[in-house]
């Protein structure tokens, strides 16, 4: 059957293989080759696709919850939305939350996701106390910072290429309200945006929406949003989606003019400097529109997320924005974020510096543009985020990920490279 990722690009052939029991998993390991595990299929590109896609969604049981210490043990197929519905009322939250709650715990680990608080707390895997991994020979091992450390470092951010993540034990963070105090700063240009980030580096959460069609004096014009947990209030939490994208928009709807209009409205709509908002609207604004990816039309879109090390962040981001603005291939969603230090996981994306994330409608021109952006990222020693990637080259990967060779060696030593191969890992020779 035809497999479609969240970005609807690329389309590939493959078979969906739902699993429930451990026996189902050992069966699929003995029967098939070229496997990759998939969570809720929210990766943008081809990282969760292979000839056989192991669908883990049915393996979503909560196994244990210590409500005093905030330690949750659960199966990899559980959704973050389900986790929040269960833990927020008890005064806990996941210490790292991505931009959507519709991803699985296994996916969060395999991509070592980060959130708006990366500059303070690091990535998701830094709160994984331990996990159980099924290797390609069916053997199950437990790994953590102290046990099977090598496997742990390779599996966290390992894009599902080291084995099947079965379950994990996660340290939660305490909260006393389901609301966030959000403060917005409108900035005039990139320099100003960086200043605001620097001034607010102790803020719990920070992220900037950036107008990537702005030019010259206004290049890097943004709305920087900061957030702090409220200390008093209710703890109710229900996942809600309010609107549904019923069909694919024709791809001409999103063009540089409509994006310009949207950006203009967004910038001027932001009036209130400070307001109290629900957790959901702060962390997952797009989740309120089901299937928002259809906005980009049937030919799909690619997301481009890179990080540039701190010493070159300003020049690097400026060069990228200049290139994008010149190309007029506007990105509807452009997000800038100050990142904290890198961790020891071999393929973990974040590093100290600034990350820029952009969405582009797929066409020949944008793909060419992305190739030129790759060169800028390389020039400033940055790297691209694997769970969003659908098209980077092996060279770009090797340039950005200094531990890629170590990762390849781990795969060879454990023979996981004979069983687990996604379209992405084949493309990148991982």
């Amino acid at each position: 059957m035809r497999l479609k990722s969240w970005g609807n690009y690329p389309h590939v052939e493959g078979e969906n293989y739902p699993v429930v029991s451990d026996d189902d998993l050992t069966d699929v390991l003995t029967q098939k080759t070229s496997l990759i595990v998939q969570g809720n299929n929210r990766s943008y590109g081809d990282s969760a696709f292979a000839q056989t896609v192991i669908d883990m969604k049915a393996r979503d049981h909560f196994l244990d919850f210590d409500t005093k210490k905030g330690i949750l043990e659960l199966q990899a197929g559980a959704l973050i939305s389900d986790v929040l519905e269960s833990i927020v009322p008890k005064g806990w939250i996941l210490p790292v939350l991505p931009g959507t709650q519709l991803i699985t715990i296994g996916g969060a680990i395999a991509s070592d996701i980060h959130g708006k608080n990366h500059h303070n707390v690091g990535t998701f895997c830094q709160f994984v106390k331990s996990l159980r991994l099924m290797l390609s020979n069916g053997e199950i091992i437990k790994c953590s910072n102290t046990e099977n450390v090598q496997a742990f470092r390779a599996t966290c951010a390992g894009m599902g290429l080291t084995g099947i993540i079965l379950d994990a034990t996660i340290q939660l963070a305490p909260i006393s309200s389901n609301r966030i105090k959000q403060t917005s700063h409108k900035t005039k240009n990139l320099k100003h945006t960086f200043e605001i980030f620097n001034e607010n580096n102790d803020s719990s959460y920070s992220v900037a929406w950036i107008d990537c069609l702005a030019k010259d004096q206004e290049l890097g014009k943004s709305v920087v949003m900061l957030g702090e947990h409220e200390t008093e209030g209710e703890l109710e939490y229900k996942y809600k989606s309010r609107h549904k994208m019923p069909f694919y928009l024709p791809s001409f709807v999103l063009n540089s003019w409509s994006i310009r209009l949207f950006n203009w409205l967004y910038y001027f709509k932001t009036k209130k400097k400070s307001q109290s908002v629900q957790l959901q609207s702060f962390f997952f604004p797009l989740d309120s529109i089901v299937d928002w990816n259809k906005m980009y039309g049937k030919s799909g879109f690619v997301q481009y997320q890179c990080v540039i090390p701190l010493e070159h962040s300003y020049e690097g981001i400026k060069a990228l924005l200049n290139k994008i603005s010149d190309s007029k291939q506007g990105s509807f969603l452009a997000v800038l974020k100050r990142m904290g230090c890198a961790n020891d996981n071999l393929l973990s994306f974040p590093m100290e510096g600034y990350s820029l994330a952009l969405d582009f409608k797929v066409n020949k021109k944008t793909l060419e543009l992305l190739d030129t952006l790759d060169e800028i990222v390389k020039q400033y020693n940055g790297r691209l985020y694997l769970c969003k990637d659908a098209r980077m080259s092996e060279d770009t990967l090797n340039h950005g990920y200094k531990n890629a060779e170590k990762f390849r060696k781990f795969r060879q030593d454990t023979e996981s490279n004979k069983t687990f191969n996604s379209y992405q890992s084949t493309r990148l020779k991982l």
Partner: protein
């Protein structure tokens, strides 16, 4: 706190429905033929929702046991949801009456045996709700699954009679007619993506229809129209079709 009895709790739709009801604050009693398999799920429900979850062993084909089991249900129940179902093997059933009987008894006779008892109880105390999962397959016999379809048609008719009988006793009866749903039962079948629902979606729709006191729920909703069209095709033509 209200309590719901879910029969056939090992099915995917039942599990999804259990989560929805527990999420809305109901305590649950889960009935299934094998409780051992159900254990991890019960543990999951308790952790997720902090509700009381009881289990009882119930074999839908062991009719003699049903009265005793229903009498010994540990608490007062406010509603029952029946999600027992067996698709069976149509081809096998044509040559093997045991298979035919298993399809008929699991999807119809067994359910009737249990619901007769519960319906009398609800009628006596003039409250309660009954939800049972039938199927759009019961709307017209097709060569691919008419044994299953015939049993579901009987169930649909039974539920409609029950609804009629219990209407002025304040007991509601909801007939759920799912189209294609991605479950263990349909695994391996090549189902059209646009017409195939997730168990979670069905469960939410069941909860909402039951709370509103509706009579029939098609899911997806478009199945109502599709099945209307299929029912309207004259038999002269229908018998020639390969649907």
């Amino acid at each position: 706190m209200s309590t719901v009895l879910i029969i056939g709790a090992n099915s995917d739709i039942a599990k999804a429905t259990a989560r929805v009801y527990a999420g809305f604050g109901y305590d649950l009693i889960l009935a299934a033929s094998s409780l051992e398999v159900l254990d991890p799920f019960v543990n999951d429900l308790k952790i997720r929702y902090d509700r009381n979850i009881d289990t009882i062993e119930l074999d839908i084909l062991n009719y003699q046991s049903h009265a005793e089991i229903c009498k010994n249900i540990p608490k007062h129940i406010d509603g029952v949801i029946v999600a027992v179902g067996y698709l069976g093997d149509q081809f096998k059933s044509q040559n093997d009456f045991d298979e035919t009987q298993k399809i008929t008894d699991t999807n119809y006779t067994g359910i009737v045996s249990v619901l007769n008892i519960i319906a009398n109880d609800f009628e006596k105390r003039k409250s309660g709700f009954i939800v049972a999962i039938s199927s759009v397959a019961g709307e017209r016999g097709r060569k691919k699954n008419y044994q299953y379809g015939a049993a579901k048609a009987a169930l649909t008719t039974y539920l409609s009679g029950l609804r009629n009988r219990l209407y002025d006793k304040g007991v509601s009866v909801l007939t759920v007619k799912p189209g294609f749903v991605l479950t263990k039962m349909t695994r391996g079948l090549d189902l059209p993506e646009k017409l195939t629902a997730q168990p979670k979606e069905v469960a939410l729709a069941i909860y909402s229809a039951q709370q509103k006191g509706k009579d029939t729920l098609y899911y997806y909703k478009k199945w109502r129209l599709i099945m209307w069209i299929i029912r309207m095709i004259p038999e002269k033509i229908f018998k020639r079709l390969d649907l």
